[in-house]
């Protein structure tokens, strides 16, 4: 398996929406490389015939009745919002200015 480079860490950080400093990139590159080197031993342990396990319980589509129930009020739901306006979450600009 290939080692992980500083450029790859920068790419991963972008994908994960993490703004990292140059110093952090250097530090994490070495550490992630060591961790990935250690965990790569899972590859080729199990044969083609072994099914993957994603979850310990054999559950599919747990449903509940589609009925109206008590829920948080708008005020409660907005109580942790960093910014709000007119009973809505106020967020920074999403689309660029045209």
């Amino acid at each position: 398996m290939p080692g992980i480079t500083r450029e790859e860490v920068a790419h991963l950080a972008r994908l994960a929406r993490l703004e990292l400093s140059g110093e952090e990139l250097d530090h994490f590159a070495g550490q992630l490389d060591a961790i990935i080197g250690a965990v790569a031993r899972v590859a080729d342990v199990a044969g083609e015939d072994v099914p993957p396990t994603s979850h310990p319980l054999p559950l599919t589509n747990v449903m509940r009745p589609d009925a109206v129930r008590p829920s948080l009020t708008a005020q409660q739901a907005l109580s942790g919002a960093p910014a709000q306006e007119q009973q809505r979450f106020k967020v920074p600009q999403i689309l660029g200015e045209e």
Partner: protein
């Protein structure tokens, strides 16, 4: 009024019985514990938030209920320390992260609700590794917690605040969560009892998500019976958690009251031994196995060859789920927001917020998970890890054809010094070597004290593992071992801890 130094050293079962009988009031019990927190928590730092008013109000309500002759819950008036990963309506909840600093949840977790319904007195919220990622509580954004046995050493993690709180008699009971060992390893290094119930046994609703296919809440206590009493309060089906098991709770209290291993088949996992295991840990573990034999268990060695790959599989599966679960911290709806000065787009604000709000271990795991799930690597990493998970489950199934429970050391070493592994992730991860397979398979496991390591005088934990939904076996075996060791030592192990 009863002697307050006596009150804090009682078991939860004793305290509940005295409150029910009117020998002591719930307010007296709460005040004794709050005074203990005032006296020692500056040194230990187990709590992130002490809810003095809330605790006393609840204690007064318990006393009033008793005076009116109403039926009290089984742990009525018993003071408890709640890991800061469970939401508590009106009480700050941070999960040890700057991302949630100052957040006050608008709702209770199911665990919180059940504790309140059982008349338990919640004293406050305990310190933890950020979002439960760690084995030492050093990854908390709010500073580390000391191990009451030696304040220069780690109390385990991620639930180090919970384990330290009960060890230092600041609370009779505590709640933890266990994704890779975060209840059992802290119990092991503090000489207390911790149980990871069967996955799905305790609701995850309102328990801040780390790795959803592995996370499980459970009890921390100073005795096996206290853990069982708390387990029974927490467990049971919850429609708010689609992975909650809809089946009767295993009879854990009955088992804890009837400890016995006579005629039981106990398997010693061959793979949990060798390089990296401290000599004194193995010595105490071997003595515990010998004790099980003396108590009438049939002890056999079993082999679980895939356990060797469990740690590697875990450090792909858990980070993969982290990278997905923690995407919710986007700085838009709740929690921290950084850089919203009108010059940055929403995406930039999200990146700046996550950079400021997450600590190094969380960032490492998010990137590791992003890598493991990325196109081109998915099959080799995440896909392979999921297959290893199947092999580990099969190893357990094969073992349970021969034995009723498995035993191992809980963690390979005693409490290590604060700072020793904090910037060496692989060394830190080794602390969970013996606990991780149970999370991957979803079965039940307990850690309880089996002595002090001769070389450093620090507690060693014995791990007992039982099949899914056979949690009662943990308590049956644990209670027998606890009784025999207490007999041999002449007192509970915690009495050997130095005064704070």
């Amino acid at each position: 009024m009863a002697d307050s130094s006596g009150i804090i050293r009682q078991t939860a079962a004793e305290t509940a019985a005295q409150i029910a009988a009117g020998d002591v009031s719930a307010v007296e019990v709460a005040e004794a514990h709050l005074a203990r927190i005032d006296a020692v928590d500056e040194k230990v730092h187990a709590f992130l938030h002490v809810d003095r008013e809330g605790a006393l109000a609840r204690a007064r309500a318990v006393d009033a209920k008793r005076e009116r002759g109403e039926k009290l819950g089984p742990l009525a008036g018993v003071p408890l320390a709640l890991k800061d990963i469970f939401t508590t309506e009106g009480v700050p909840t941070t999960a040890g992260s700057k991302m949630l600093q100052g957040w006050v949840p608008p709702y209770d977790a199911t665990v919180t609700r059940r504790l309140k319904e059982a008349d338990v007195v919640i004293l406050g919220k305990t310190n933890m590794d950020e979002f439960a990622m760690g084995s030492s509580t050093e990854n908390s954004a709010y500073g580390h917690t000391g191990n009451p046995w030696d304040l220069t050493r780690i109390p385990g993690g991620s639930g180090g605040g919970s384990s330290a709180a009960i060890t230092a008699h600041m609370a009779a009971l505590a709640i933890g969560t266990d994704t890779g060992g975060s209840i059992r390893q802290p119990a092991s290094v503090t000489g207390t009892v911790g149980v990871k119930p069967t996955y799905g046994g305790v609701s995850r609703y309102g328990m801040i998500a780390f790795s959803s296919s592995l996370d499980q809440g459970g009890p921390c206590a100073r005795t096996v019976l206290d853990a069982a009493l708390l387990h029974e309060v927490l467990a049971g089906h919850d429609p708010m958690d689609s992975t909650s098991i809809d089946a009767p709770v295993p009879p854990v209290v009955e088992a804890a009251r009837n400890g016995s291993v006579a005629g039981m088949r106990v398997g010693v996992v061959k793979e949990f031994r060798g390089e990296g295991y401290q000599t004194g840990v193995m010595q105490r573990f071997d003595e515990a196995v010998e004790l099980l034999r003396e108590l009438g268990a049939e002890v056999v060695e079993v082999s679980c060859p895939s356990f060797d790959k469990a740690l590697a599989a875990y450090y792909l599966i858990a980070p993969a789920e982290v990278s997905s679960n923690l995407a919710r911290y986007d700085g838009l709806r709740y929690g921290l927001r950084t850089g919203d000065d009108g010059t940055h787009s929403a995406e930039e604000v999200t990146s700046l917020t996550r950079a400021a709000g997450f600590g190094p271990e969380v960032k490492r795991r998010i990137m590791l998970g992003t890598y493991a799930l990325s196109s081109g690597y998915y099959d080799a990493y995440y896909g392979s890890a999921q297959k290893v998970r199947t092999l580990i489950t099969r190893d357990f199934e094969r073992a349970y054809e021969q034995v009723d429970v498995l035993v191992s050391p809980t963690t390979p070493t005693t409490a290590f010094p604060i700072g020793e592994r904090v910037d060496d992730p692989m060394a830190m991860y080794l602390a969970d070597l013996c606990t991780i397979p149970s999370n991957l398979a979803g079965n039940a496991a307990m850690s309880l004290p089996c002595g002090l390591a001769p070389e450093d005088g620090l507690p060693v934990g014995l791990q007992i593992i039982a099949p899914a939904m056979a949690d009662d076996r943990l308590y049956r075996v644990g209670a027998a071992v606890e009784a025999a060791f207490t007999d041999r030592w002449g007192h509970p192990l915690l009495e050997e801890a130095p005064a704070l």
